[in-house]
Symmetry: C2
Subunit: 181 residues, 2 copies
DNA sequence: GGGTGCAGTGCAACTAGTTGCATAGCCCTA
DNA sequence: TAGGGCTATGCAACTAGTTGCACTGCACCC
């Protein structure tokens, strides 16, 4: 599983609490690896047991105490091992494709609405990604090391969302045309 | 969950046994919804309980008996309901992106090899999809109804794999360039 | 007659992910 | 001062998915 590794990557960029990690998973990291705070807390606990991360409590004023985690030596080794290890492409689970494939078994009109809704959601996400690209990476050719890698992952998100928007448009055009006939 | 619905879609196209379904999930349906035979057998059992599918045993000669499942009335209703119901875009879990993002924490060279391997895997899949497109859908503009929907899903697969291949190429070019400097 | 391989079904144990809820301190506003 | 919202952590119960194995039957080939 890669949640542990996603957490290692995130903590290696910057140490933080479970809560902070959960927020990162809501935005940047979560663009390509989703996780709830429950999963994160549970996994952090396990990782402490494995010796991959260390944890110390930090008292704060004005807000509750927090536990700050940082990557330990064993965690760094595990991360390096995992990075070099071959992995299989993710198993795909795409709801909307199942629905499109099943369209003939239901109300095609209602499905058109659903596809249009997804189209807009993906277009929105695409806009978010493009805005980040513009703001944080104005000159990609100058990038190197960690910022380059972050940029490349963002590029993956942009490509994926764009492909989805275009696919939805293709589906909508074809199904509307088919509906008219 | 959508495995039940993926099975309904598949059985609605053609009734069959768990074993046959597992094979369909290996190829066509599995391109966008992965499932093992274990999951399928277990889910079929549950669906019989729900009254969504009916099951009858068929004796065969030359091979073991099988249980053939077909969609029942309640299953058809459920499928129609689900098709029209709004759903959220899938939560993304993309291993390779996590690795790329973590590249600075390990051996970037080894990761280049891994990205190249994935690039080839996706290129292979893309070729498979393109071959199916050419063979089964030589004249897309003439399509309507079920074949159209199947074609559109295939188009989604083509777009997704192409986007992945192109992204891998972008990553490889940038990381190799960065490595040279 | 023994091995391989495919068709066919399934259990058991495990790992991973989701959902609902609980708790607790502090801030701000109506 | 009561309620809503944010930070912060966590349990319990559930659903979903994976992995390893076990069994049957037949066909085919060496």
């Amino acid at each position: 599983m890669a949640l542990e590794h996603a957490i290692l990557v995130s903590l290696d960029e910057r140490s933080g609490s479970g809560y902070e990690l959960a927020q990162r998973f809501e935005k940047s990291i979560g663009f390509f690896w989703a996780a709830t705070h429950q999963q994160i807390y549970r996994t952090l606990k396990r990782m402490v047991g494995l010796g991959w991360v260390s944890c110390h409590e930090v008292a704060q004023d004005g807000r509750p105490d927090k536990k700050v985690y940082e990557v330990a030596e064993a965690g760094r080794e595990e991360l390096a091992r995992w990075l070099a290890a071959p992995g299989e492409p993710e198993t795909i689970r795409h709801d909307l494709s199942v629905k499109v494939r099943g369209a003939s078994s239901g109300d095609a009109k209602a499905l058109i609405g659903e596809v249009a809704r997804h189209r807009d959601l993906h277009a929105e996400r695409l806009d978010v990604y493009l805005a980040i690209e513009k703001k944080d990476f104005p000159d990609p050719s100058a990038l190197s090391g960690r910022p380059l890698h972050q940029y490349l992952v963002l590029r993956g998100g942009i490509r994926a969302e764009r492909a989805l928007v275009e696919w939805c448009d293709e589906v909508l055009a074809a199904m509307r045309e088919d509906d008219r006939r």
